[in-house]
Symmetry: C2
Subunit: 96 residues, 2 copies
Amino acid sequence: MLVLITYDVSTISDGGKKRLRRVAKKCEDFGVRVQNSVFECIVDAAQLKSLEIELEELIDPAVDSLRFYKLGNNHKYKVKHIGAKQSLDVEGPLIF
Amino acid sequence: MLVLITYDVSTISDGGKKRLRRVAKKCEDFGVRVQNSVFECIVDAAQLKSLEIELEELIDPAVDSLRFYKLGNNHKYKVKHIGAKQSLDVEGPLIF
């Protein structure tokens, strides 16, 4: 299923930039960055659970936040992009 | 239905900060800010169309982007929040 992950990491707090890099890196293992703090990941339920736990360990819950939105499998008609940097179709064929 | 709106506005480009303020202000008219660049809005199809058009006019499509994710009506079980600043339930009663 498609899961949208959005995050706010407080880069003005101690170690914030490091946490931000780590959160982005972890999300990159599972999906595509579509905006600065927004990733679209194709995961099954077990992967999602594991990803939630790993990301939770990377953030400072007092100042940072993570949100997970389950968009299901029939998601092609649920997403609209306007403007710069159109995302890849994470499930489509890669054509160069 | 619940629509998630995420945006990247390039604040280093000319007029970027102004565009960012305007985009946030417009989104505030329809929903709740849950993260810095993430809003959850309860809109019907006509309101969504109108919001898309209005937001598109506020951004610079060469450097900024907007994404709209339709989460439908049965969205309570699709969203998980971890960490700081839990959002309001935009459809629930306001209890102070």
